[in-house]
Symmetry: C2
């Protein structure tokens, strides 16, 4: 038998004890709520997929970042889901003919990456995915962004806590072309833009020249990566910053205008340095960051109009984002948006704590009343201690944050019980048949 010490959660995974689970549910319910009020329907897929689903899009290079396996005696290679988009694309492709467009789906599953665990990055994490498929244009992009923002607002964050940083591959591509980048080198140009901070300046220089940028353009390329513009910029201002035609800046300006119209302008800014690493984005791209730039991105997404096609479906435009629980949890904690004293206050409160004051008949009555009240939807607890000491039992009721204590046994001959309001400190006698109403008023 293995020793106790070997029985730990695998590296990079988490045990969710009640307090941590309450935080997770707090985050998940903000995600779910924001999705539903925006008209997205919840879906889910398998926790593992055929390995080939992931190599299609990302090539074999991704295999080392995956947990992959094969069933004993089986022939198929599987991998734990590293992201949800391939599953989504597969599900849309499988039913594309029968789905009414636009498809608006969200999911809140676990994801897995075989990376070295570090701050903000674990091997298993929960990620909220919101996607709209089948609709071109800025309206869809804004609906998706609005969903992300509402969830953050419900978690207590505001425009001074988090920033939505927005860009557009079409506009930035036009800017890069204007700087001298060859049309066929745009993908490499985006990669350079994305990795500029992690890259040796010399390597950056060499690779920038290789895509056709003349020496005098390289500084401007680097400067472009650091350019932010206010969300009330119009197409001519964006075009000016990019050195491109106003037509190419139009789509980004359109999204900015719609964000302002929807009342979301305060949360957003244009950041021409945002490109997103993955090659499959085709238009709008965005990230959500803690305002001071601390921590990794809270969320990232954009438009990927060729993705469903890649998975064997029809050509369908799509836009979406992913938001993980790990970085968001750190930001909520950093910003004081989680109950500081004890995360237990996120746990559901007990409506009624039942106390048997003595006779055996009262014990049986507690069992019966407990189920009757629970059946009515009330959250009921009672002690498991072999005591009828009402003072001790009242203190246990207080510890589990009960709203009411119901004391049974002192007035049983008259079928009355004492209902004590533990918040107000008041107490009154109530007929046994009316306990549910008495403890429900304040719930």
């Amino acid at each position: 038998m293995a020793s106790a010490a070997t029985h730990q959660a695998p590296k990079g995974t988490r045990d969710f004890y009640p307090e941590e689970m309450a935080v997770r549910r707090h985050i998940e319910s903000a995600w779910r709520h924001a999705s539903i009020v925006h008209g997205f329907d919840e879906i889910d897929g398998p926790t593992f997929e055929h390995l080939s689903l992931y190599t299609v899009k990302s090539g074999d290079g991704i295999v080392n970042e995956l947990f992959s396996f094969r069933r004993a005696g089986g022939e198929d290679d599987y991998a734990l889901r590293p992201e949800f988009t391939p599953t989504l694309a597969r599900m849309v492709a499988a039913r594309a003919g029968g789905l009414s467009m636009p498809v608006k789906w969200f999911a809140i599953p676990s994801h897995f990456r075989a990376e070295r665990p570090q701050r903000g990055r674990l091997r298993e994490f929960i990620q909220w995915n919101v996607d709209m498929v089948g609709l071109l244009g800025a309206q869809a992009d804004v609906d998706v962004l609005s969903t992300a923002i509402l969830a953050l607002e419900r978690l207590g964050l505001g425009p001074s806590d988090v920033r939505v940083r927005l860009s557009h591959r079409g506009a930035v591509g036009a800017g890069l072309r204007a700087l001298g980048a060859a049309a066929e080198s745009l993908a490499e140009a985006f990669t350079l833009l994305d990795r500029r901070d992690k890259m040796d300046p010399k390597e950056f220089d060499t690779r920038a020249r290789a895509i056709g940028l003349p020496a005098e353009a390289i500084d401007r390329f680097a400067a472009l990566a650091k350019t932010t513009l206010p969300i009330d910029s119009d197409a001519s201002e964006i075009a000016k910053a990019l050195g491109c035609d106003e037509t190419d800046a139009e789509p980004l300006a359109d999204i900015a205008r719609r964000l302002r119209e929807a009342g979301l302008g305060a949360w957003c800014e244009i950041d021409l340095g945002i490109v997103r690493g993955l090659a499959y984005y085709t238009g709008t791209v965005f990230e959500i960051h803690e305002a001071s730039g601390a921590e990794r991105a809270i969320a990232g997404g954009g438009r990927y109009d060729r993705l469903v096609e890649l998975f064997g479906g029809p050509s369908l435009p799509a836009v979406g984002f992913g938001m993980g629980d790990v970085v968001l949890g750190l930001v909520l904690k950093d910003r004081g948006k989680l109950p500081t004293e004890s995360e237990r206050s996120l746990l559901p409160r007990t409506d009624a704590f039942l106390i048997s004051a003595g006779p055996e008949k009262a014990d049986a009555l507690v069992a019966r009343l407990a189920f009757d009240l629970r059946r009515l939807g009330l959250h009921v607890r009672h002690s498991y201690k072999a005591t009828h000491n009402v003072g001790k039992l009242l203190s246990e009721a207080g510890k589990c944050r009960a709203r009411f204590a119901v004391i049974i046994g002192t007035e049983l001959e008259s079928a009355m019980v004492a209902v004590k309001d533990l918040d107000a400190g008041s107490q009154r006698l109530v007929p046994l048949a009316e306990v549910a109403d008495a403890v429900r008023v304040a719930s």
Copy 2:
């Protein structure tokens, strides 16, 4: 690139499109509700664990039933979680000193078994786990059973749909001893009892003799496996059926009495043939079945007082059960307890469908009003079609089951909008600032 046909969910796993997801959430929220009102706190653990966590309890024989894997370049063997109990025992053992007893936890995670998929049995399934640790005796057993029953009741099932079948290893063990089984062969006797229906009668006979049962006892052993008793049986009646002392029948009689006292008697019966396959149960055992015996067990559980110790923790009594979503889903369907016409009726209803009746200003107002109403918690949709045809848009509102349509644009000069109650068919003009109140009344 792989062809479209290879992009399917792995065998034995499921895609949850919105309708299927709504059924899953319907089941999960009944589970969660029943747990919370009974005072259980939600927890979760990693989706995969060290492989050794599973071989400790079940031996190496279990490895073929697991999906196991290793990170590329890593040294640790992992396995997808086949059941939650080892994770629970590990989590209790890790913090045993700091937890206040009894620990009352529930979890609703995914589980994985590398078996051949068949009706009621998939390779990935959701399972509700409810456990109470640190408390001996019938009260804990009954609290756990009561939690299971309340969830079934909330899903629309009643005592004529499902039966709780209850037994006790102590009582049945005493009965087996009385028949002549050797004390050291009780584990094998339980295995025989559990597998009797899947076993060749000759093999059953041979193995029954091997544990010391005389020829004349074997028929009585087989008969015992088929013995059911009403839940209002007392210790002497149970002892008589088992041929054991009344003292040995006491614990089972005590649970039966408490179930009756709590008002749960109608759901339950004593079934001496229930033993549960796993070796770790030590007292009470139970299964919940569809009343006619169709389908596999909906749930199974019992008392396992040595489990935490096995995982390196202190010696702590424990009782719990697991209920999967697959068999339960089949039973709900068979029994007509899911909306028959369309599972879409389980999806959340739209509160307000916003319609722009024309001017460009109205389009912008729809975007703004949509976010304002969503921020107030209302579920809002609008069309993505480029039309201002109010008739067509009203029909779209009907399709997404909206309660109200809000028509913007016809009376904009006076800052009024038309609010149409789609259930009642009535319509009235409302000041723009009061739309939220107008659509909230009926929500």
